[in-house]
Amino acid sequence: MKDRTAIAGIGQTPFAKSLPETELELALAAIRAALEDAGIGAWEVDGFASFTMEPNVEVEIARNLGCGDVTFWSQVGYGGGAACATIGHAAMAVATGRASVVVAWRARKRGAATSRPWANVPDRVAGPAQWSRPFGLLRPVDEIAMLTRRYMHEYGATRAHANRSPRAMMFAKPLDRDTYMAGRWISEPLCIYDNCLESDGAVAAVIVSADRARDCPQPPALIHAAAQGMNAQLQTMTNYHSTDPLTGPGWACATALWRDADVGPRDVQVAQLYDAFSPLVLLSLEAYGFCKRGDAPGFTDNGALGPGGRLPVNTSGAGMSEAYVHGFNLVAEGVRQIRGTSTSQVDGAEVSLVTSGEGVPTSALLLTADR
């Protein structure tokens, strides 16, 4: 599959705390923008890939978009772990001839406090949640804070640095260290600034063969490798029952990703690391091989992840500062870095890594320039 497919188009809606459009309208707007970016008409779309949590089903997208016969569709589970996997599924469909133009997307309205999934649960909890929620471990932030406290205990990290990319929803709200340190607690050791934004918005990508992408208006972002992974004995989010809970699904995904790639972690010039919660960035730095286990806090010193650092990370602001679209906005930014059009462009970036959520069955994407 290596280098046989490419992302030829990306599109997105505005991101905001509250948008008036329905999720269907947001999805269609992002997909139309991505198709226009690719120079491809809706009637050519014959495949779809999205999330099991996506509110818009393929049949509604297809008939509202104006597609013809559709011959491939796929939905990936586990929320924030799915974004890169949708691209991977699309690439497999194109590489195997199941479809020729696949649209991957995510649309969601999660800006309103009333839309929080953890606040809308029945009083009786079944499945894995019965072992944690009755005891007051209610929210995703609590579940990740538990791993964070253990990480801090084992490796001596203090509270992680906040993402400071001045863009998108947080464009006019720079965050300095003092403000971060004064942020109110949500689940100690994590404060308000360790959490991603609650946003409305949609993002889409168009996947075609590499040959077709070379005829499209934008420079292709080749899909060099795409992988999914979950580790042995993983329990989603409350991953406390494996032998070593600090070695999570990202490690399994990274093994599969690098196995298929001609390049390694040292060749990556820019990375979009899924950041629903700040410590996931540290875990991903270790999982994908940028540093050894326990060394991530030191790796981030001296602005290493910032502009001009040794590994610029989350250059659009990502989930913490741009918008939280279940990590799909990270895919779009990974493409912009290959095109050379990011607002925090890494000069000459030819190898661009995108990861999805650590802590859940996850996925990753390695995009390369066509040179």
Partner: protein, 135 residues
């Protein structure tokens, strides 16, 4: 935590854990074939693939593996108690036997703090709780 608290809705293979709690015993599954202890309960053994298991009583002793202190926003029944600690206890019998829970004797949560199980009725269920121990 009582009125408005979340309570478990166990599957048949999970229910014995809660039923033993009501008897004042902390029990987990043990594979009859290979002897491996497992928690949370599952319909099969991940070590040997056997589906034959029994429920064995643990000492109820362990240490705090990690903890958080939850602050609002939370569900109303929990927000009334906030900020409150939630702990993960690693049981003495096996390091993969880790249970989420609460320390109820007022001891401040700390990693490696030795704890032992106690039980509390909450609505129609009995939940395991934890208190500091000296032995």
């Amino acid at each position: 935590m009582s009125a408005g608290s979340l309570l478990p809705d166990p599957a048949p293979y999970e229910a014995p854990f809660w039923e033993w709690c009501a008897e004042g015993e902390l029990r987990v599954q043990q594979c009859r074939n290979c002897g491996v202890l497992r928690f949370p309960p599952r319909p099969g053994c991940a070590s040997c693939e056997s589906v034959d298991a029994t429920w064995v009583r643990l000492s109820g002793k362990g240490r705090i593996w990690s903890f958080v202190i939850a602050h609002p926003p939370l569900l109303p029944a929990y927000e009334a108690l906030a900020p409150y600690p939630v702990v993960v206890v690693e049981l003495d019998e096996d390091r993969t036997l880790r249970m989420v829970g609460n320390v109820v004797d007022g001891t401040e949560a700390a990693i490696d703090l030795p704890v032992e199980v106690t039980f509390e009725e909450v609505g129609e269920m009995t939940l395991p709780r934890w208190r500091a121990r000296t032995t």
